[in-house]
Amino acid sequence: GFGARLNKFFAQFRTVDEDFFDDLEELLIESDVGYETAEELTDELRDEAKLKKAKSRDELKQVIVQKLVDLYDKNGNSEDEKLIYRPDDKPNVYLFVGVNGAGKTTTIGKLAKRFKDQGKSVLLAAADTFRVGAVEQLEAWGKRVGVPVVTGKAQADPASVVYDATQRAIKEKADYLLVDTAGRLQNKKNLMNELEKIQRTIKKLLPDQPTETLLVLDGSTGQNALLQAKDFDKTTKLTGLVLTKLDGSSKGGVVLAIRNEMKLPVKLVGLGEKAGDLADFDAASYAIGLFHGLV
Protein backbone atom coordinates (compact mmCIF):
# COMPACT_ATOMS: atom_id res chain seq x y z
CA GLY A 1 0.00 0.00 0.00
CA PHE A 2 0.76 3.66 0.10
CA GLY A 3 2.40 3.60 3.52
CA ALA A 4 4.72 0.76 2.71
CA ARG A 5 5.89 2.39 -0.46
CA LEU A 6 6.50 5.70 1.21
CA ASN A 7 8.34 3.91 3.98
CA LYS A 8 10.64 2.33 1.49
CA PHE A 9 11.06 5.68 -0.14
CA PHE A 10 11.94 7.53 3.04
CA ALA A 11 14.40 4.81 3.94
CA GLN A 12 16.68 6.24 1.29
CA PHE A 13 16.48 9.76 2.62
CA ARG A 14 19.48 11.69 3.70
CA THR A 15 19.57 13.00 7.27
CA VAL A 16 16.46 14.72 8.50
CA ASP A 17 17.00 17.98 10.33
CA GLU A 18 15.76 21.59 10.27
CA ASP A 19 17.24 22.02 6.80
CA PHE A 20 15.18 19.07 5.75
CA PHE A 21 11.97 20.92 6.54
CA ASP A 22 13.13 24.00 4.67
CA ASP A 23 13.99 21.88 1.67
CA LEU A 24 10.69 20.10 1.94
CA GLU A 25 8.78 23.35 1.85
CA GLU A 26 10.75 24.65 -1.11
CA LEU A 27 10.26 21.42 -2.97
CA LEU A 28 6.53 21.48 -2.44
CA ILE A 29 6.30 25.07 -3.64
CA GLU A 30 8.33 24.24 -6.72
CA SER A 31 5.89 21.43 -7.51
CA ASP A 32 3.03 23.98 -7.69
CA VAL A 33 1.44 22.74 -4.47
CA GLY A 34 0.93 26.39 -3.59
CA TYR A 35 2.46 28.42 -0.81
CA GLU A 36 -0.31 27.91 1.71
CA THR A 37 -0.53 24.15 1.30
CA ALA A 38 3.24 23.81 1.33
CA GLU A 39 3.59 25.82 4.51
CA GLU A 40 0.70 24.06 6.20
CA LEU A 41 2.02 20.64 5.33
CA THR A 42 5.55 21.42 6.42
CA ASP A 43 4.39 22.94 9.70
CA GLU A 44 2.18 19.98 10.45
CA LEU A 45 5.03 17.61 9.79
CA ARG A 46 7.37 19.63 11.96
CA ASP A 47 4.86 19.81 14.83
CA GLU A 48 4.06 16.16 14.56
CA ALA A 49 7.74 15.37 14.82
CA LYS A 50 8.02 17.48 17.96
CA LEU A 51 4.85 16.09 19.50
CA LYS A 52 6.00 12.55 19.07
CA LYS A 53 9.34 13.61 20.58
CA ALA A 54 11.10 11.87 17.80
CA LYS A 55 14.59 11.43 19.17
CA SER A 56 16.44 9.87 16.34
CA ARG A 57 16.32 10.74 12.71
CA ASP A 58 14.80 7.40 11.95
CA GLU A 59 11.93 8.14 14.31
CA LEU A 60 11.45 11.49 12.64
CA LYS A 61 11.13 9.81 9.29
CA GLN A 62 8.53 7.43 10.66
CA VAL A 63 6.47 10.35 11.94
CA ILE A 64 6.54 12.07 8.59
CA VAL A 65 5.54 8.94 6.75
CA GLN A 66 2.64 8.35 9.09
CA LYS A 67 1.49 11.93 8.74
CA LEU A 68 1.51 11.75 4.97
CA VAL A 69 -0.47 8.56 5.01
CA ASP A 70 -3.04 10.10 7.36
CA LEU A 71 -3.32 13.13 5.16
CA TYR A 72 -3.84 10.98 2.13
CA ASP A 73 -6.53 8.87 3.79
CA LYS A 74 -8.30 11.92 5.10
CA ASN A 75 -8.80 13.14 1.56
CA GLY A 76 -10.88 10.26 0.36
CA ASN A 77 -10.31 6.62 -0.34
CA SER A 78 -8.78 4.99 -3.33
CA GLU A 79 -12.12 3.54 -4.46
CA ASP A 80 -13.12 6.92 -5.91
CA GLU A 81 -10.06 6.95 -8.07
CA LYS A 82 -11.34 4.34 -10.48
CA LEU A 83 -13.33 5.39 -13.52
CA ILE A 84 -16.93 4.38 -13.07
CA TYR A 85 -18.54 1.88 -15.43
CA ARG A 86 -22.12 0.78 -14.90
CA PRO A 87 -22.84 -2.28 -17.07
CA ASP A 88 -26.62 -1.94 -16.64
CA ASP A 89 -26.55 1.68 -17.58
CA LYS A 90 -25.58 1.77 -21.24
CA PRO A 91 -24.30 3.98 -22.67
CA ASN A 92 -21.95 5.28 -19.99
CA VAL A 93 -21.43 8.89 -21.03
CA TYR A 94 -18.14 10.60 -20.19
CA LEU A 95 -18.05 14.37 -20.62
CA PHE A 96 -14.63 16.01 -20.97
CA VAL A 97 -14.23 19.67 -20.04
CA GLY A 98 -11.33 22.05 -19.52
CA VAL A 99 -9.43 25.14 -20.62
CA ASN A 100 -7.83 25.52 -24.04
CA GLY A 101 -5.08 23.11 -24.97
CA ALA A 102 -5.20 21.06 -21.75
CA GLY A 103 -5.38 17.71 -23.57
CA LYS A 104 -9.09 16.85 -23.77
CA THR A 105 -9.16 15.53 -27.34
CA THR A 106 -5.95 13.54 -26.93
CA THR A 107 -7.15 11.98 -23.66
CA ILE A 108 -10.37 10.90 -25.36
CA GLY A 109 -8.36 9.28 -28.15
CA LYS A 110 -6.23 7.39 -25.64
CA LEU A 111 -9.18 6.31 -23.51
CA ALA A 112 -11.10 5.14 -26.58
CA LYS A 113 -8.21 2.86 -27.36
CA ARG A 114 -8.14 1.48 -23.83
CA PHE A 115 -11.88 0.69 -23.85
CA LYS A 116 -11.68 -0.74 -27.35
CA ASP A 117 -8.83 -3.01 -26.28
CA GLN A 118 -11.05 -4.19 -23.41
CA GLY A 119 -13.57 -5.29 -26.01
CA LYS A 120 -16.06 -2.52 -25.26
CA SER A 121 -18.02 -0.62 -27.89
CA VAL A 122 -17.14 3.06 -27.93
CA LEU A 123 -18.58 6.12 -29.65
CA LEU A 124 -17.01 9.59 -29.78
CA ALA A 125 -18.88 12.88 -30.04
CA ALA A 126 -17.07 15.79 -31.70
CA ALA A 127 -18.79 18.61 -29.83
CA ASP A 128 -15.94 21.06 -30.36
CA THR A 129 -17.45 22.73 -33.38
CA PHE A 130 -15.61 25.95 -32.64
CA ARG A 131 -11.85 25.55 -33.00
CA VAL A 132 -10.54 25.06 -36.52
CA GLY A 133 -9.32 21.52 -37.07
CA ALA A 134 -10.89 20.21 -33.86
CA VAL A 135 -13.35 17.86 -35.56
CA GLU A 136 -10.64 16.60 -37.93
CA GLN A 137 -8.37 16.00 -34.95
CA LEU A 138 -10.93 13.81 -33.18
CA GLU A 139 -11.74 12.04 -36.44
CA ALA A 140 -8.05 11.27 -36.89
CA TRP A 141 -8.00 9.73 -33.41
CA GLY A 142 -11.15 7.74 -34.18
CA LYS A 143 -9.54 6.36 -37.27
CA ARG A 144 -6.27 5.61 -35.47
CA VAL A 145 -7.94 3.57 -32.73
CA GLY A 146 -10.84 2.23 -34.83
CA VAL A 147 -13.78 3.95 -33.14
CA PRO A 148 -16.65 5.84 -34.85
CA VAL A 149 -17.02 9.58 -34.40
CA VAL A 150 -20.29 11.54 -34.52
CA THR A 151 -19.81 14.98 -36.05
CA GLY A 152 -21.97 17.96 -36.92
CA LYS A 153 -21.54 20.88 -39.26
CA ALA A 154 -18.76 23.36 -38.54
CA GLN A 155 -19.94 26.09 -36.14
CA ALA A 156 -23.06 24.01 -35.37
CA ASP A 157 -24.55 24.16 -31.89
CA PRO A 158 -22.39 21.72 -29.92
CA ALA A 159 -25.44 20.60 -27.93
CA SER A 160 -27.07 19.38 -31.14
CA VAL A 161 -24.05 17.20 -31.92
CA VAL A 162 -24.23 15.80 -28.40
CA TYR A 163 -27.94 15.13 -28.84
CA ASP A 164 -27.34 13.19 -32.07
CA ALA A 165 -24.43 11.27 -30.58
CA THR A 166 -26.37 10.34 -27.44
CA GLN A 167 -29.32 9.08 -29.49
CA ARG A 168 -27.02 6.99 -31.62
CA ALA A 169 -25.21 5.59 -28.57
CA ILE A 170 -28.58 4.60 -27.06
CA LYS A 171 -29.71 2.97 -30.27
CA GLU A 172 -26.47 1.04 -30.70
CA LYS A 173 -26.31 0.18 -26.97
CA ALA A 174 -22.72 1.40 -26.90
CA ASP A 175 -20.79 0.76 -23.70
CA TYR A 176 -19.28 4.22 -23.76
CA LEU A 177 -19.94 7.61 -25.29
CA LEU A 178 -16.99 9.99 -24.91
CA VAL A 179 -17.89 13.64 -25.49
CA ASP A 180 -15.19 16.09 -26.59
CA THR A 181 -15.90 19.77 -25.93
CA ALA A 182 -14.17 22.97 -27.01
CA GLY A 183 -11.54 24.40 -24.68
CA ARG A 184 -12.82 27.36 -22.68
CA LEU A 185 -11.41 29.59 -19.99
CA GLN A 186 -13.48 29.34 -16.83
CA ASN A 187 -14.00 33.10 -16.58
CA LYS A 188 -15.98 33.22 -19.84
CA LYS A 189 -19.58 33.24 -18.79
CA ASN A 190 -21.27 32.49 -22.12
CA LEU A 191 -18.93 29.62 -22.93
CA MET A 192 -19.54 28.12 -19.51
CA ASN A 193 -23.29 28.40 -20.10
CA GLU A 194 -22.86 26.53 -23.36
CA LEU A 195 -21.16 23.73 -21.44
CA GLU A 196 -24.01 23.59 -18.97
CA LYS A 197 -26.39 23.25 -21.89
CA ILE A 198 -24.39 20.31 -23.24
CA GLN A 199 -24.71 18.51 -19.93
CA ARG A 200 -28.42 19.30 -19.80
CA THR A 201 -28.86 17.83 -23.28
CA ILE A 202 -27.34 14.55 -22.16
CA LYS A 203 -29.59 14.47 -19.10
CA LYS A 204 -32.67 15.08 -21.20
CA LEU A 205 -32.11 11.74 -22.94
CA LEU A 206 -30.37 9.93 -20.09
CA PRO A 207 -31.24 11.39 -16.67
CA ASP A 208 -28.53 9.41 -14.85
CA GLN A 209 -25.74 10.46 -17.16
CA PRO A 210 -23.00 11.55 -17.58
CA THR A 211 -21.39 8.82 -15.49
CA GLU A 212 -18.21 10.88 -15.42
CA THR A 213 -17.66 14.58 -15.95
CA LEU A 214 -13.90 14.95 -16.06
CA LEU A 215 -11.91 18.16 -15.86
CA VAL A 216 -8.75 17.84 -17.93
CA LEU A 217 -5.89 19.79 -16.34
CA ASP A 218 -2.52 20.50 -17.88
CA GLY A 219 0.02 19.23 -15.34
CA SER A 220 2.16 22.33 -15.77
CA THR A 221 -0.63 24.68 -14.67
CA GLY A 222 0.06 26.82 -11.64
CA GLN A 223 -2.36 28.15 -9.04
CA ASN A 224 -5.01 28.99 -11.63
CA ALA A 225 -5.89 25.29 -11.69
CA LEU A 226 -7.74 25.75 -8.40
CA LEU A 227 -9.97 28.38 -9.95
CA GLN A 228 -10.50 26.08 -12.93
CA ALA A 229 -11.60 23.24 -10.70
CA LYS A 230 -14.00 25.45 -8.76
CA ASP A 231 -15.60 27.16 -11.73
CA PHE A 232 -16.00 24.04 -13.86
CA ASP A 233 -17.40 22.21 -10.86
CA LYS A 234 -19.94 24.97 -10.40
CA THR A 235 -21.04 24.72 -14.03
CA THR A 236 -21.01 20.97 -14.59
CA LYS A 237 -20.59 19.09 -11.33
CA LEU A 238 -17.27 17.28 -11.73
CA THR A 239 -16.62 13.65 -10.82
CA GLY A 240 -12.87 13.75 -11.23
CA LEU A 241 -9.72 15.11 -12.83
CA VAL A 242 -7.40 14.04 -15.61
CA LEU A 243 -3.86 15.32 -15.14
CA THR A 244 -1.99 15.54 -18.45
CA LYS A 245 1.56 16.14 -19.66
CA LEU A 246 3.17 14.58 -16.60
CA ASP A 247 5.95 13.37 -18.89
CA GLY A 248 7.32 16.94 -18.77
CA SER A 249 9.21 18.73 -16.01
CA SER A 250 6.06 19.52 -14.03
CA LYS A 251 4.79 17.50 -11.12
CA GLY A 252 1.18 18.63 -11.07
CA GLY A 253 1.43 19.63 -7.43
CA VAL A 254 -1.63 21.86 -7.63
CA VAL A 255 -3.72 18.72 -7.56
CA LEU A 256 -2.80 18.32 -3.91
CA ALA A 257 -4.37 21.70 -3.17
CA ILE A 258 -7.45 20.80 -5.22
CA ARG A 259 -7.75 17.52 -3.37
CA ASN A 260 -7.42 19.25 -0.03
CA GLU A 261 -10.07 21.79 -0.80
CA MET A 262 -12.51 19.97 -3.03
CA LYS A 263 -11.92 16.26 -2.40
CA LEU A 264 -11.87 15.68 -6.14
CA PRO A 265 -10.04 12.50 -7.14
CA VAL A 266 -7.61 12.31 -10.04
CA LYS A 267 -8.72 9.42 -12.23
CA LEU A 268 -6.24 9.42 -15.09
CA VAL A 269 -2.83 10.78 -15.94
CA GLY A 270 -1.44 11.62 -19.38
CA LEU A 271 2.16 10.61 -19.96
CA GLY A 272 2.74 11.48 -23.60
CA GLU A 273 1.14 11.99 -26.98
CA LYS A 274 0.78 8.39 -28.11
CA ALA A 275 -2.39 6.29 -27.77
CA GLY A 276 -0.82 4.17 -25.04
CA ASP A 277 0.40 7.08 -22.92
CA LEU A 278 -2.44 6.99 -20.42
CA ALA A 279 -2.39 5.54 -16.91
CA ASP A 280 -4.63 5.29 -13.89
CA PHE A 281 -3.71 7.68 -11.15
CA ASP A 282 -1.61 6.13 -8.42
CA ALA A 283 -1.50 8.29 -5.31
CA ALA A 284 1.61 6.71 -3.90
CA SER A 285 3.75 7.22 -6.95
CA TYR A 286 2.35 10.71 -7.32
CA ALA A 287 3.34 11.58 -3.75
CA ILE A 288 6.73 10.03 -4.21
CA GLY A 289 7.09 12.06 -7.41
CA LEU A 290 6.48 15.23 -5.42
CA PHE A 291 9.31 14.41 -3.04
CA HIS A 292 11.61 13.14 -5.71
CA GLY A 293 14.08 16.01 -5.51
CA LEU A 294 14.73 15.35 -1.83
CA VAL A 295 16.23 11.90 -2.24
Binding site: E30, Q137, Q223
Partner: protein, 308 residues
Protein backbone atom coordinates in the same frame (compact mmCIF):
# COMPACT_ATOMS: atom_id res chain seq x y z
CA UNK B 1 -8.07 31.13 -2.81
CA UNK B 2 -8.17 34.49 -1.15
CA UNK B 3 -6.02 36.72 -3.29
CA UNK B 4 -5.80 39.64 -1.00
CA UNK B 5 -4.50 42.65 -2.79
CA UNK B 6 -0.76 43.04 -2.26
CA UNK B 7 -0.99 46.73 -1.53
CA UNK B 8 -3.58 46.03 1.17
CA UNK B 9 -1.33 43.39 2.65
CA UNK B 10 1.73 45.56 2.75
CA UNK B 11 -0.28 48.42 4.17
CA UNK B 12 -1.54 46.11 6.89
CA UNK B 13 1.91 44.76 7.66
CA UNK B 14 3.33 48.25 7.95
CA UNK B 15 0.28 49.71 9.66
CA UNK B 16 1.97 50.76 12.84
CA UNK B 17 4.59 52.80 11.14
CA UNK B 18 3.63 56.41 11.28
CA UNK B 19 7.02 58.01 10.94
CA UNK B 20 7.89 59.36 7.56
CA UNK B 21 11.69 59.45 7.51
CA UNK B 22 13.60 56.46 6.12
CA UNK B 23 12.49 52.89 5.52
CA UNK B 24 13.97 50.62 8.18
CA UNK B 25 15.16 47.05 7.96
CA UNK B 26 12.26 45.98 10.15
CA UNK B 27 9.74 47.53 7.74
CA UNK B 28 11.29 45.76 4.83
CA UNK B 29 11.31 42.39 6.53
CA UNK B 30 7.63 42.73 7.34
CA UNK B 31 6.81 43.75 3.80
CA UNK B 32 9.00 41.02 2.30
CA UNK B 33 6.87 38.23 3.61
CA UNK B 34 3.81 39.73 1.96
CA UNK B 35 5.61 40.32 -1.31
CA UNK B 36 6.93 36.79 -1.31
CA UNK B 37 3.48 35.38 -0.75
CA UNK B 38 1.85 37.47 -3.44
CA UNK B 39 4.45 36.55 -6.03
CA UNK B 40 4.25 32.83 -5.21
CA UNK B 41 0.47 32.93 -5.46
CA UNK B 42 0.90 34.52 -8.87
CA UNK B 43 3.10 31.55 -9.88
CA UNK B 44 6.38 33.41 -10.08
CA UNK B 45 9.15 30.84 -9.79
CA UNK B 46 10.41 30.29 -6.28
CA UNK B 47 14.05 31.12 -7.06
CA UNK B 48 13.08 34.19 -9.04
CA UNK B 49 11.07 35.38 -6.04
CA UNK B 50 14.09 34.96 -3.78
CA UNK B 51 16.30 37.06 -6.03
CA UNK B 52 13.61 39.64 -6.48
CA UNK B 53 13.16 40.11 -2.74
CA UNK B 54 16.89 40.52 -2.28
CA UNK B 55 16.83 43.27 -4.86
CA UNK B 56 13.87 44.99 -3.22
CA UNK B 57 15.58 44.94 0.16
CA UNK B 58 18.69 46.53 -1.24
CA UNK B 59 16.67 49.09 -3.14
CA UNK B 60 14.46 50.08 -0.21
CA UNK B 61 16.82 50.15 2.72
CA UNK B 62 17.46 53.63 3.97
CA UNK B 63 15.40 55.19 1.24
CA UNK B 64 13.61 58.43 2.09
CA UNK B 65 9.86 58.13 2.18
CA UNK B 66 8.35 60.54 -0.30
CA UNK B 67 6.30 63.44 1.04
CA UNK B 68 3.01 62.25 -0.47
CA UNK B 69 3.33 58.59 0.51
CA UNK B 70 3.35 56.54 3.70
CA UNK B 71 6.06 53.88 4.19
CA UNK B 72 3.80 51.10 2.95
CA UNK B 73 2.99 52.96 -0.22
CA UNK B 74 6.64 53.77 -0.71
CA UNK B 75 7.56 50.08 -0.57
CA UNK B 76 4.79 49.24 -3.00
CA UNK B 77 6.09 51.86 -5.37
CA UNK B 78 9.59 50.38 -5.23
CA UNK B 79 8.23 46.87 -5.82
CA UNK B 80 6.16 48.01 -8.77
CA UNK B 81 8.98 50.03 -10.31
CA UNK B 82 11.42 47.16 -9.97
CA UNK B 83 8.97 44.66 -11.41
CA UNK B 84 8.17 46.90 -14.36
CA UNK B 85 11.88 47.33 -14.98
CA UNK B 86 12.32 43.56 -14.98
CA UNK B 87 9.43 43.08 -17.38
CA UNK B 88 11.26 45.33 -19.86
CA UNK B 89 10.44 48.99 -19.68
CA UNK B 90 9.46 49.60 -23.28
CA UNK B 91 7.59 47.54 -25.84
CA UNK B 92 9.79 45.56 -28.24
CA UNK B 93 8.85 44.60 -31.82
CA UNK B 94 9.86 41.85 -34.22
CA UNK B 95 13.30 41.68 -35.83
CA UNK B 96 13.07 42.68 -39.47
CA UNK B 97 15.29 41.15 -42.13
CA UNK B 98 17.10 43.45 -44.58
CA UNK B 99 15.75 41.48 -47.51
CA UNK B 100 12.44 39.71 -47.74
CA UNK B 101 11.28 37.43 -46.34
CA UNK B 102 11.50 38.08 -42.63
CA UNK B 103 11.35 34.61 -41.11
CA UNK B 104 9.51 33.86 -37.87
CA UNK B 105 9.62 30.47 -36.17
CA UNK B 106 7.25 29.41 -33.37
CA UNK B 107 8.35 26.99 -30.69
CA UNK B 108 6.96 25.78 -27.36
CA UNK B 109 5.33 23.10 -25.26
CA UNK B 110 2.22 21.23 -26.42
CA UNK B 111 -1.02 23.16 -26.51
CA UNK B 112 0.40 26.59 -25.62
CA UNK B 113 -1.07 28.31 -28.69
CA UNK B 114 1.61 28.19 -31.40
CA UNK B 115 -0.64 27.42 -34.36
CA UNK B 116 -3.25 29.94 -33.27
CA UNK B 117 -0.51 32.57 -32.84
CA UNK B 118 0.83 31.88 -36.35
CA UNK B 119 -2.60 32.88 -37.64
CA UNK B 120 -2.86 35.88 -35.35
CA UNK B 121 0.55 37.14 -36.41
CA UNK B 122 -0.28 36.75 -40.09
CA UNK B 123 -3.48 38.72 -39.54
CA UNK B 124 -1.65 41.37 -37.52
CA UNK B 125 0.98 41.83 -40.23
CA UNK B 126 -1.68 41.97 -42.95
CA UNK B 127 -3.51 44.71 -41.08
CA UNK B 128 -0.48 46.67 -40.01
CA UNK B 129 1.79 46.45 -43.04
CA UNK B 130 -0.37 45.04 -45.76
CA UNK B 131 1.99 42.07 -45.58
CA UNK B 132 1.83 38.97 -47.81
CA UNK B 133 2.94 36.18 -45.51
CA UNK B 134 3.43 32.49 -46.27
CA UNK B 135 2.76 29.97 -43.51
CA UNK B 136 4.72 26.72 -43.31
CA UNK B 137 3.08 23.68 -41.69
CA UNK B 138 5.99 22.22 -39.74
CA UNK B 139 3.93 20.05 -37.38
CA UNK B 140 3.73 16.60 -38.93
CA UNK B 141 2.89 14.79 -35.68
CA UNK B 142 -0.26 16.12 -34.07
CA UNK B 143 -3.42 14.68 -35.67
CA UNK B 144 -4.93 17.27 -38.04
CA UNK B 145 -2.32 19.93 -37.22
CA UNK B 146 -1.85 20.68 -40.93
CA UNK B 147 -5.63 20.87 -41.39
CA UNK B 148 -5.84 23.36 -38.56
CA UNK B 149 -3.23 25.63 -40.12
CA UNK B 150 -4.73 25.29 -43.60
CA UNK B 151 -8.14 26.38 -42.34
CA UNK B 152 -6.54 29.38 -40.67
CA UNK B 153 -4.79 30.18 -43.96
CA UNK B 154 -8.11 29.92 -45.81
CA UNK B 155 -9.78 32.34 -43.42
CA UNK B 156 -7.00 34.87 -43.94
CA UNK B 157 -6.52 34.15 -47.63
CA UNK B 158 -2.88 33.43 -46.86
CA UNK B 159 -1.01 30.55 -48.54
CA UNK B 160 0.02 27.57 -46.41
CA UNK B 161 2.94 25.42 -47.51
CA UNK B 162 2.74 21.75 -46.52
CA UNK B 163 3.97 18.38 -47.78
CA UNK B 164 1.79 15.34 -47.26
CA UNK B 165 4.18 12.44 -46.88
CA UNK B 166 7.47 14.06 -45.96
CA UNK B 167 8.93 12.87 -42.65
CA UNK B 168 11.79 15.41 -42.54
CA UNK B 169 10.44 18.70 -41.23
CA UNK B 170 13.66 20.57 -42.06
CA UNK B 171 13.13 19.65 -45.69
CA UNK B 172 9.53 20.89 -45.65
CA UNK B 173 10.76 24.18 -44.22
CA UNK B 174 13.50 24.44 -46.84
CA UNK B 175 11.04 23.80 -49.66
CA UNK B 176 8.56 26.24 -48.15
CA UNK B 177 11.21 28.96 -48.05
CA UNK B 178 12.05 28.31 -51.71
CA UNK B 179 8.36 28.75 -52.48
CA UNK B 180 8.33 32.05 -50.59
CA UNK B 181 11.37 33.25 -52.55
CA UNK B 182 9.62 32.43 -55.78
CA UNK B 183 6.39 34.13 -54.74
CA UNK B 184 8.19 37.07 -53.11
CA UNK B 185 6.38 36.74 -49.77
CA UNK B 186 7.59 39.34 -47.32
CA UNK B 187 7.08 37.16 -44.24
CA UNK B 188 7.37 33.45 -43.59
CA UNK B 189 5.88 32.09 -40.39
CA UNK B 190 6.80 28.55 -39.44
CA UNK B 191 4.50 26.47 -37.22
CA UNK B 192 6.20 23.63 -35.35
CA UNK B 193 4.86 20.75 -33.27
CA UNK B 194 4.57 21.17 -29.53
CA UNK B 195 7.35 19.42 -27.62
CA UNK B 196 8.85 19.06 -24.18
CA UNK B 197 12.13 20.87 -23.64
CA UNK B 198 13.58 17.58 -22.39
CA UNK B 199 12.65 15.67 -25.56
CA UNK B 200 16.06 15.21 -27.16
CA UNK B 201 15.08 14.09 -30.70
CA UNK B 202 12.42 16.77 -31.05
CA UNK B 203 14.69 19.52 -29.72
CA UNK B 204 17.29 18.41 -32.28
CA UNK B 205 14.63 18.73 -34.94
CA UNK B 206 14.15 22.38 -33.97
CA UNK B 207 17.89 22.96 -34.26
CA UNK B 208 17.82 21.51 -37.76
CA UNK B 209 14.90 23.73 -38.73
CA UNK B 210 16.72 26.74 -37.34
CA UNK B 211 19.80 25.90 -39.38
CA UNK B 212 17.82 25.62 -42.58
CA UNK B 213 15.58 28.63 -42.01
CA UNK B 214 18.01 31.08 -40.38
CA UNK B 215 15.00 32.75 -38.74
CA UNK B 216 15.11 36.43 -37.79
CA UNK B 217 12.73 35.63 -34.94
CA UNK B 218 12.36 32.54 -32.81
CA UNK B 219 9.35 33.07 -30.61
CA UNK B 220 8.75 30.90 -27.58
CA UNK B 221 5.01 30.59 -27.02
CA UNK B 222 4.16 30.26 -23.32
CA UNK B 223 0.79 29.64 -21.70
CA UNK B 224 0.21 32.37 -19.10
CA UNK B 225 -1.24 29.78 -16.69
CA UNK B 226 2.08 27.91 -16.41
CA UNK B 227 3.31 27.30 -12.90
CA UNK B 228 6.75 26.86 -11.38
CA UNK B 229 8.17 24.89 -14.32
CA UNK B 230 8.12 27.98 -16.55
CA UNK B 231 11.78 28.66 -15.74
CA UNK B 232 12.95 25.16 -16.72
CA UNK B 233 10.94 25.27 -19.92
CA UNK B 234 12.17 28.70 -20.96
CA UNK B 235 15.77 27.88 -20.09
CA UNK B 236 15.51 24.61 -22.01
CA UNK B 237 14.29 26.23 -25.21
CA UNK B 238 16.56 29.27 -24.92
CA UNK B 239 19.73 27.27 -24.37
CA UNK B 240 19.08 25.11 -27.40
CA UNK B 241 17.78 27.75 -29.79
CA UNK B 242 18.73 31.18 -28.47
CA UNK B 243 15.15 32.40 -28.79
CA UNK B 244 14.61 36.05 -29.73
CA UNK B 245 11.34 36.69 -27.93
CA UNK B 246 8.28 35.40 -26.14
CA UNK B 247 4.54 35.31 -26.80
CA UNK B 248 2.42 34.97 -23.67
CA UNK B 249 -0.96 33.40 -24.49
CA UNK B 250 -4.34 32.98 -22.79
CA UNK B 251 -4.07 36.21 -20.86
CA UNK B 252 -7.81 36.63 -21.34
CA UNK B 253 -8.17 34.22 -18.44
CA UNK B 254 -8.02 35.09 -14.75
CA UNK B 255 -4.49 33.87 -14.13
CA UNK B 256 -2.09 36.32 -12.52
CA UNK B 257 0.55 35.26 -15.03
CA UNK B 258 3.63 35.19 -12.82
CA UNK B 259 5.28 32.94 -15.41
CA UNK B 260 5.96 36.13 -17.37
CA UNK B 261 8.36 37.31 -14.70
CA UNK B 262 10.01 33.90 -14.35
CA UNK B 263 10.68 33.68 -18.06
CA UNK B 264 12.01 37.19 -18.31
CA UNK B 265 14.30 36.57 -15.36
CA UNK B 266 15.88 33.39 -16.70
CA UNK B 267 16.15 34.27 -20.40
CA UNK B 268 16.35 38.06 -20.40
CA UNK B 269 14.44 37.88 -23.69
CA UNK B 270 11.59 40.31 -24.34
CA UNK B 271 7.92 39.42 -24.27
CA UNK B 272 6.73 40.77 -27.61
CA UNK B 273 3.07 39.84 -27.89
CA UNK B 274 0.26 38.60 -25.69
CA UNK B 275 -2.64 36.37 -26.72
CA UNK B 276 -5.95 37.69 -25.45
CA UNK B 277 -8.44 35.23 -26.92
CA UNK B 278 -9.05 32.59 -29.56
CA UNK B 279 -9.92 34.91 -32.43
CA UNK B 280 -7.34 35.89 -35.05
CA UNK B 281 -7.58 39.51 -33.95
CA UNK B 282 -6.84 38.70 -30.29
CA UNK B 283 -3.14 39.60 -30.33
CA UNK B 284 -1.72 42.58 -28.49
CA UNK B 285 1.63 44.25 -28.05
CA UNK B 286 3.08 43.55 -24.64
CA UNK B 287 2.60 46.16 -21.92
CA UNK B 288 5.22 45.69 -19.17
CA UNK B 289 3.52 48.01 -16.69
CA UNK B 290 0.14 46.32 -17.01
CA UNK B 291 1.77 42.92 -16.57
CA UNK B 292 3.56 44.10 -13.45
CA UNK B 293 0.39 45.24 -11.72
CA UNK B 294 -1.43 42.10 -12.87
CA UNK B 295 1.19 39.87 -11.24
CA UNK B 296 1.06 41.92 -8.08
CA UNK B 297 -2.72 41.86 -8.08
CA UNK B 298 -2.87 45.59 -7.66
CA UNK B 299 -5.64 47.76 -8.96
CA UNK B 300 -6.55 51.33 -8.15
CA UNK B 301 -3.98 51.65 -5.40
CA UNK B 302 -1.29 51.57 -8.02
CA UNK B 303 -2.68 54.40 -10.11
CA UNK B 304 -2.80 56.40 -6.92
CA UNK B 305 0.84 55.77 -6.23
CA UNK B 306 1.90 56.35 -9.82
CA UNK B 307 0.51 59.84 -9.59
CA UNK B 308 2.55 60.57 -6.47
Amino acid sequence: MAFENLSERIQKALKNLTGKGKISEDDINKASREIRLALLEADVNFKVVKDFIKKIKKESLGKEVQESLNPGQQVIKIVNDELTKMMGETAVGLNKSKHIPTVIMMVGLQGTGKTTTVGKLAYHLQKKENARPLLIAGDIYRPAAVDQLKQIGDKLKVPVYSEANEKDVAKIVKDGLAQADKDKNDYVIIDTAGRLEIDEPLMEELERIKKVAQPDNILLVVDAMTGQAATDVAKGFDQRLDITGIVLTKLDGDTRGGAALSIRAVTGKPIIYTGEGEKLSDLENFHPDRMASRILGMGDMLTLIEKA
